[in-house]
Amino acid sequence: MKKNTDRSLGTGTNAILESISDGVFTVDSNWRITSFNRAAETITGIRRREAIGKPCSEVLRASMCEADCALRHTVKTGKPIINRSAFIIDTEGRRIPISVSTAILKDEKGRVVGGAETFRDLSLVEELRKELKGRFEIGDLVSRSAAMRHIFDILPQIAASDATVLIQGETGTGKELMARAIHSFSTRKTKPFVAVNCGALPDTLLESELFGYVKGAFTGAAKDKPGRFALAESGTLFLDEIGDISPALQIRLLRVLQDKRYEPLGGTETLLADVRIVAATHRDLSAQIRKGTFREDLFYRLNVVKVDLPPLRKRKEDIPLLVDHFIARFNRLQGKAVIGTSSDVMALLMAHDYPGNVRELENILERAFVLCGEGNIERAQLPPELGGRASFSSSEENTIAAQTHAAEAQAIRMALERNGFNRLAAAHALGLHKSTLFRKIKALGIELPAQDGRSHTESTQSR
């Protein structure tokens, strides 16, 4: 049968089929394989002599064979199918992603004698896609930096355990997102996630908020109110800004963490708390312990697993990824068609220090979205403190001179900011003479604040 097939295809066609990297096979009207090229052997792991004469579904073993066979569809309708995705199972039991295209096979007289199918191994593409997508995103967290990737790697294990987690990181680094990610990967994911900002409430209110109260506990307590511990039953309780709570409340919290028991305000009955605690703070708790404002025993109770979220300025390689992430999100939310940022906007975004971390970057982009509906985000749409001024007309923007001027202005502005607007110190930092700096400031039209920075630097030095 194989010889017949080879003869019917002709030597030239055969040589072509043998040399291409896509798998190609043909079937007769009974769906039995009549030809099978070399790439098909490699992808499926089945030798040609084993494949010929067998039902194509048992040779290819594709996910679409049973319910939605592409070849059957083509033979029935006469319409070819191009690049339909599926997976096959090879002889080793591996799922191999493929794309399938089909066509009708006709003889010299134009009669339909079967079908032809080509398939392409997409394993590599799929692997790269996963590498790009999967590893840099967990929940709503996006990062490709080494420090964050380490956290991503251990996050499923952290989530799977029931241990208390302490998340430390500056404001805006995504502490709550991390807590939510831990909750969503844990066995408690179907149960509630309750977040409490301990810094936002006065002490007494926080106590009743956390533990709840019973009717008559205080004036105005007309009926029982369950606390956040009760609301988060079987789920996760996220205590944000844990470093801000008072010593008295620290003791009560310590008891809950130790014994998993608590009493609502004014209540006599002890309740059991089946709650996983995730705490977060932007403060350095070790320093607070040294100062005596945070209890050491509570710290060790909370610090079973510690996650340190690095600030954005220490993982600037994430900025382009985050910018893409936020642009895609705002496009989705606001129904806009922003493509990306212009190159000088990206340069400015990369140069910024982000004291407000990822939240600040998000706000900068949200502001830009107010002004920009489609195309690229331009410099004029950035806030002024980031250097968002349209100082060059668009026709000049792409010339070397304009680019040089923009870069110079940016460097001078940053040197001035770093040196408290002390011109002499900035000139030293830039390696310029002070009069050259003055000339450039004037020529580039850089605005300076009223104070010149000299007194500030002197006072700093005298200290």
Binding site: E50, A51, E58, E66, A67, G93, R94, R95
Partner: protein, 177 residues
Amino acid sequence: MPAPPVSGYPGVRYTLLRTRKSIWHVSCYVSYREMEGHTYMKLALATWNGRISPVFDVARQVMMLDVEDDRVVARHEETLPGTEPQAQVGRLATLAPQTLICGAISDPLAGLLVAKGIQVISFISGTVEEVLTAHLSGTLLKPAFAMPGCCGRGGRFRGSGAGHGRGACFGGRRLVM
């Protein structure tokens, strides 16, 4: 915590379910026929158009057979979701066969089934009746029922050695248990 050991008598089958941390629910099933020395087996065959379904991962039909002393005493068709591996395993586990005979199956899915205590005889091809007869007569592991490329008839083309993963290759296909 591993399941506590439960010893039994012929024909008495125990199932252990961990309901809470240290509480075990023990259910027992007594087959008088087995106590009398008969062998009993619940068999599942993934089918499609009268043949063994080519890919179990997406199979939507399964034939459930009650076999007593190598004789089929009852058979009926059941459906499978044919979507996610977890759903496929969950559905088959509720049907509770001791053995599944199927076509190609991805390794992780076979592992999940084995973890549920289901023996998997995979990479089998042929008509349902031929395969069933061969299984009952103990000749299913002949190369004639192997899917193309799965050992037998010149051996496996990709990979080396007779076995792969948890499975072992018996002339025709893999037996995973």
